[in-house]
């Protein structure tokens, strides 16, 4: 299949996910030397039966160690993960930014239609990273807001005026921010949004404060901003992925039609965990056509019978090597 056709094919929901995946897998094996070697060692190649469950998932740290981009591709964009001192940063080279734009628009506007919402982005920690994919995404959404109301919080001189403008236009103000930043906003009492707003929180749960569960975070946001839990949503995305997942009003994420999530057994990443069983989150994101669409994250997750999933924090492998009472009880 020609590359231009493949780009459209990925986002064509009329074609089964399995068929789209097969084409993307063939393209990857032909053009991504890292993934080709990985897949070959694990015994899957173009002659094998390819299905979403058998496709090997490349550990996400590949993005820290190598330039993961298909052969003969040049990067339009480069995203870099935020990282603490001494930590390797992931780098995602994006060969075709239209794939990212498409993934952002299709998923975001399906949940938050352009004509209904105005976005207020509060991402203080990410602003220091000129290669932040989250900032790029926020800027893209702001730029594409036809009525021009969407904005970055730090660009807004008078927040009360902004809120009344948005409400006057009959739109819902949507505060989109990193979890730790939103908690700071509550502490600083800078904004009084009450029940007029909806909120999307994103980013890790390990903040400069402490690690907290999604349930606790949602409760703090709900109490702190006086917003009903049903109006607090979550985004799950990362620098290594061009697509994002959303949990609307609760802790269960769903995927766009070109993404599939499975929970993988950390002891055997080839095994898919049953619903309710915790494991590492495995992602097939077809929009990652030119980098690597088959990724095993280090995030801990759990799925339900309907294919939805929850993000439970980071997978801690320290449990596997040392003496561990919890493992001992299993």
């Amino acid at each position: 299949m020609a590359e231009t056709d493949l780009k459209e094919y990925i986002f064509n929901s009329g074609i089964s996910f399995a068929d789209r995946l097969k084409e993307v897998y063939i393209y990857q094996i032909a053009n991504n030397p890292f993934y080709r070697d990985f897949s070959n060692v694990l015994g899957l190649n173009m002659d094998s039966d390819i299905d979403p469950e058998s496709v090997p998932l490349l550990p996400i740290r590949a993005f820290q160690l190598g330039k993961i981009i298909t052969e003969n591709s040049d990067a339009d964009l480069m995203f870099k993960s935020s990282g603490t001192t001494g930590m390797l940063q992931s780098m995602h080279y994006v060969a075709d930014k239209s794939l990212y734009e498409n993934a952002i628009s299709e998923a975001f506007y399906s949940h938050f239609p352009k004509d209904k919402y105005a976005l207020l982005c509060y991402m203080p920690g990410y602003l220091d990273n000129p290669h932040s994919s989250l900032i790029w995404m926020a800027a893209y959404l702001i730029k594409n807001d036809d009525c021009g109301l969407s904005t970055m919080y730090h660009d807004t001189e008078n927040i009360d005026e902004w809120i009344s403008n948005v409400l006057d236009k009959g739109k819902i103000p949507l505060l989109f921010g990193a979890a730790f930043g939103l908690l700071d906003l509550i502490d600083e009492n800078k904004i009084n949004i009450s029940n007029q707003f909806e909120i999307i929180e994103t980013g890790g749960m390990k903040t400069h404060r402490r690690e907290m569960s999604k349930t606790e975070l949602r409760k703090q946001l709900s109490d702190g901003f006086d917003v009903a839990p049903s109006n607090i949503h979550s985004e799950y995305g990362m620098c290594e992925l061009l697509s994002q997942m959303y949990a609307i009003g609760d802790e269960w994420f769903t995927t766009p039609h070109w993404v599939q999530i499975t929970i993988r057994d950390p002891r055997n990443p080839g095994r898919i965990c049953k619903p309710g069983e915790e494991g590492k989150i495995g992602i097939i994101d077809l929009a990652n056509l030119y980098s690597c669409p088959f990724i095993l994250t280090d995030d801990k997750g759990v799925s339900d019978e309907n294919g939805r999933f929850q993000v439970l924090g980071r997978w801690n492998s320290d449990n596997l090597r040392g003496c561990n009472f919890l493992i001992d009880r299993d």
């Binding site: 890292f34 993934y35 070697d37 990985f38 060692v41 694990l42 090997p56 490349l58 550990p59 740290r61 590949a62 160690l65 190598g66 001494g86 950390p266 002891r267 055997n268 990443p269 080839g270 095994r271 801690n316 492998s317 320290d318 449990n319 596997l320 090597r321 040392g322 003496c323 561990n324 009472f325 919890l326 493992i327 001992d328 009880r329």
Partner: protein
């Protein structure tokens, strides 16, 4: 005098337990091996190491170095949760409690249900001034409000374990807790003499590489590719005498595939992987081989100090410091002194300071 008598009695009990004619120990070893918990070679090594560590006046030396006071924990209930991948895991903790005269309550490791109980049963008949109780399942523990808790686990598990114990009213928020989180050790090798290589092999591959004193990172002036062949010979020699009992999960082969894709130098040994790559050791059956010098070692020790148990080397470096850690002899990795300090804390000292009368 009181301490001396108590320790003498304890020393005699331990010495008796390790005697070859102790049928209860023999039975415990047979059950452990027959039921597949550990290999005979690993059990034999651990018993040999502990017998040596507790022989002669070693317990007395420990009382001196730890400042043991007579019956310092008399009447105090100490709960020890034992978990791990080694035979007789928890032996030192149980002994610490007995030496201080405290009452020992143990949750025995599910992976080692015979050896430590055999020792505890034997000791309880001889050490009459304190209670010795143990269970295999936490749910069977019939005790409330212990005076201290000792256990090993990850940072992640600590809060979960303590909350379970709080729910059961076994501990309260203020119960002193000694929670150990170190889970790997590092070696600095500067020569490839047969003795060094054999010690290194023992320190890496004994118990299938499990245990916090086992080496997970080697720093050496040569790259893995230069030493791969000769090192493999020593490993094969070791495995011929000590077949690896536990087998890795399929995730290890995925890691091999990943390294191959990322062009990371490695040696695939079927049941073990050696890779020339540095990351915080967290998984079993992996040795990281890092080319470097003493400065490299110091950097690694500084970077991973939170999970690091011990730093080993040979000859000139023993006794020197790598950051704040004193370098121990490589040959002692699997044969520590009875007074060695897990997570740099002497258990007797800790008990006396936190729970003592």
């Amino acid at each position: 005098m009181q301490v001396a008598n108590h320790i003498k009695k304890l020393s005699k009990a331990i010495d008796g337990w390790f005697q070859p004619d102790n049928m209860k120990l023999k039975t415990a070893i047979e059950q452990t091996v027959d039921e597949g918990f550990f290999s005979f070679e690993d059990v034999k090594q651990q018993i040999r190491a502990l017998k040596h560590a507790t022989a002669g006046d070693n317990l007395h030396k420990w009382t001196e170095s730890s400042g043991l006071q007579p019956h310092s924990l008399s009447g105090k209930d100490i709960l020890c949760l034992h978990a791990g991948n080694l035979p007789l895991v928890g032996f030192q903790d149980a002994l610490s409690v007995m030496m201080t005269g405290g009452n020992y309550f143990g949750k025995i490791s599910r992976k080692d249900p015979y050896l430590l109980p055999a020792f505890l049963e034997y000791s309880s008949g001889l050490i009459l001034q304190s209670e010795i109780n143990w269970v295999l399942n936490l749910d069977d523990l019939e005790i409330t409000k212990v005076d201290a808790l000792i256990f090993a686990g990850s940072e992640d598990s600590a809060s979960k374990v303590t909350s379970v114990l709080r729910e059961k009213n076994i501990i309260t928020k203020s119960t002193p807790s000694l929670i150990r989180t170190a889970h790997f050790s590092v070696a600095y090798i500067t020569n490839n003499h047969p003795e060094t290589m054999r010690d290194l092999t023992e320190a890496v591959f004994r118990y299938g590489g499990a245990g916090c004193r086992s080496i997970a990172i080697v720093v050496a002036p040569f790259g893995l590719n230069d030493w791969k062949c000769s090192f493999t010979e020593y490993i094969e020699e070791f495995w011929l005498k000590n077949p690896q009992h536990s087998k890795p999960d399929p995730s290890l082969f995925h890691r091999y595939a990943f390294n191959k894709a990322m062009k990371i130098e490695q040696a695939w040994l079927d049941d073990f992987l050696i890779e020339e790559q540095l990351s915080k050791p967290s998984e079993k059956f992996i040795l990281q081989w890092i080319k470097g010098d003493k400065n490299t070692l110091d950097d690694i020790v500084s970077k991973f100090k939170d999970g690091l148990q011990a730093v080993y080397s040979t000859e000139n470096y023993i006794g020197q410091k790598s950051n704040s850690m004193i370098i121990e002899p490589l040959s002692k990795a699997q044969n520590p002194s009875i007074w060695w300090k897990p997570d740099h804390i002497d258990t007797i000292e800790w008990l006396q300071e936190n729970v003592g009368i």
